[in-house]
Symmetry: C2
Subunit: 417 residues, 2 copies
């Protein structure tokens, strides 16, 4: 018997039939003797429709009104799921952010949770009532609804699990776990039974879109164990008991991972674009002249490579920005051309970032060298490199993405055999 | 300069374009120097969809969850209208029932407003901010959302007008006022400039579906003047100033109506069905034996006619029930057949009730006699009659409805010439 948070995303709540299926998943856990709080997203498509209406009404609009409109999607699914649970004999009630309350800061549209007042929830859970909590929302200091930003329901679930001191936060989604790579590209990708917070953070931020990055950070800070699993499996199947691994992927502290693999996964991202400034004066302060205006325009620069010229007076600078900011970055740099003092600006959106991730790298040398050698052997040109303690990222031409990912997946022994 | 409540129904809020149009209506009143609170319904169709989902999930469901789901429609339109108002330069914010708060009783699904805490709204209105209030909802003593029952936004608007001591409550709808009869049937129907609360109550309950009955009752109790008007007119047109009649129909105390007409309108309803019990024992307690079981089944009986038999031992009893309850009424009476002691049960849904309404009737004799004579002259058989101080209703066969309504409309001089 444990306290559980179960979170269901929009694709698990698309209609009455799907919501009934979710109710059966919840009933299974209640029948197993657990105290259960459920966090729900809006029906798939609803949030996009609501966001589109606010944008159509006025491109620049009051974030407090945006929150009022957009948070209604979760209000609908929370009420419907409570009805579905009662219909299968499970005592349940819905909770909106302002009712609990889930207190946020004043940053409407992208608020952060400050506090979850959990006393009443805990009391109800102890009495056997399931709490169905609207994800993605809370109440700001002005007593108005605040939303947490897109994908915020994952964050709601993890924060609630922390507040309730839950044994686990189960994130139900349309995939059955976290894989060693994208199964659409790598047929031999395997589901990971366990992955550490640090690895998951790298994977999430690199395009493995299973979980929102913020929710993983929050889980790491509060030590919330997350189980990523599918809502499309048979809800009636009893859980494996005792020491067996549960279905899905457990995201946990690395201390919980006994057998640490050197490399856990290969991620990739096509959401970055490359910009090169040619024949830049190689003098102190030039980097600030380039990246200052970009930072002022709220554009995140990721990988940076500087090639020093032969005579030491001119240089080339290459870096990546999110593809969505590519045009804007160009405009910012064109405007700042005279202050920076470059000759040519070039760029491409036809690039990809491929990353090798694994906590085992910390204690193993030669992982990076193996990577570069294997890619070279396939004729794949590396345009830039960044590394961290548990990650190696390389920038390559986009058409080579799949080849590079498969090559590295095999290289580090991740292929399912 | 006055304080106004403006209420817009779902057909005035169907999409972004319609909501923009509503914003222009509001802007016109603000520009005229008025303090404005707006009450909104959900987009047309939204509430029906939400209600359908709750019913599909479970035919019998928790009214508190129903309220949570269904109230989200108004949350969406209130936020969108606030954005639209800001976009045309009008300071505005949305208010949900729990934020004001609009306190209701505990009767979730059909709650009554107990109190509207208006201090903060009045303060904001005085500062020139438009309050956009979600209609149809409030917050119950359990701190959960409560809805007022279908059509409840009219009630929200009138209650808010009373709480704010507003000069007028303008109900914008898809018709431009209250007519002497249904214009789809009577081409010569005229818009009434003014109509008393009492008359409007009779018209509303008899099928002139412009306003919810409860909102008119509430307006009468609190002396709230209601102006029914169209949202589809040009919003930019300035209001007529001073003593001129505003567009639409003003529903007010009869003291405000200088020229009292004998008859103000002819209403009809096809939502009633007739049931006859034949050869009933004519003894004390038989009426209780018939109407007791119907009342216990929550079925409202309207018109009742009893024909006493020649020998005084047997009788026929005829009465009307809502068409929606017709089958159920039959079943109830079949079950109680032995206790009641009748021989034959007959019935028809092919009947209509036509009513002549007017406060002037109080001081004029012969109105009813004229009605019966005119219908007889057209060969229309009257199956039952009920009268009140300001109303005469007759039950006729449904195919004669249009003929009867037009005949009476002409008879009492209501035709537009």
């Amino acid at each position: 018997m444990a306290r559980l948070v179960m979170k269901f995303g929009g694709t698990s709540l698309t209609d009455v039939r799907h919501i009934r299926n979710v109710a059966r998943h919840v009933k299974r856990e209640v029948a197993a003797g657990h105290q259960v709080a459920v966090v729900v997203s809006a029906m798939a498509g609803t949030t996009n429709q609501l966001v589109a209406w606010t944008a159509e009404m006025a491109p620049l609009h009051d974030a407090r009104e945006y929150d009022t409109v957009v948070a209604s999607g979760e209000q609908i699914t929370s009420g419907l799921l409570a009805i579905a649970l009662q219909d299968v004999g499970v005592e349940a009630r819905s909770w909106q952010g302002w009712q609990i309350p889930i207190k946020t800061d004043a940053a409407h549209g992208a608020a952060r949770i400050v506090e979850i007042v959990s006393d009443r929830l805990i009391e109800r859970l102890a009495r056997g009532q399931v709490a169905v909590v609207s994800g993605f929302q809370g109440v700001a200091p002005d007593n108005r609804i605040a939303t947490l930003g897109r994908g915020g329901s994952d964050t709601s679930a993890v924060a609630l699990a922390a507040a309730l001191n839950a044994a686990r936060c189960d994130i139900y989604t349309d995939v059955d776990g976290v894989y060693t790579s994208d199964p659409r590209i790598v047929q031999k990708a395997r589901r990971l039974a366990r992955v550490s917070y640090e690895e998951m953070l790298e994977m999430a931020s690199l395009g493995a879109k299973v979980l929102q990055v913020r929710s993983v950070e929050l889980a790491m800070v509060h030590g919330v164990r997350i189980l990523v699993r599918s809502s499309f499996t048979e809800p009636g199947a009893p859980e494996l008991a005792g020491g067996n691994e549960p279905p899905g992927t457990l995201i946990c502290d690395e201390d919980e991972i006994v057998e640490k693999k050197i490399v856990s996964g290969i991620a990739y991202s096509k959401d970055e674009a490359e910009i090169s400034l040619r024949r830049l004066a190689d003098k102190p302060g030039v980097a600030a002249a380039v990246f200052g205006p970009l930072a002022a325009a709220d554009i995140n620069v990721d990988m940076i490579v500087q090639n020093i010229s032969e005579d030491g007076t001119l240089t080339d600078l290459t870096f990546t920005v999110p593809t969505a900011d590519y045009e804007r970055s160009h405009a910012v740099l064109e405007r700042a051309k005279d202050q920076i003092g470059y000759e040519i600006i070039q760029g491409s959106t036809e690039i990809a970032k491929v990353s090798v991730i694994g906590i085992g790298m910390r204690s193993h040398a030669g992982v990076a060298a193996d990577c570069f050698k294997a890619l070279a052997a396939k004729g794949i040109n590396i345009r830039a490199i960044t590394t961290s303690e548990i990650k190696i990222s390389v920038l390559i031409e986009a058409p080579y993405t799949e080849l590079a990912v498969r090559t590295l997946h095999s290289l580090y022994g991740l292929d399912n055999t």
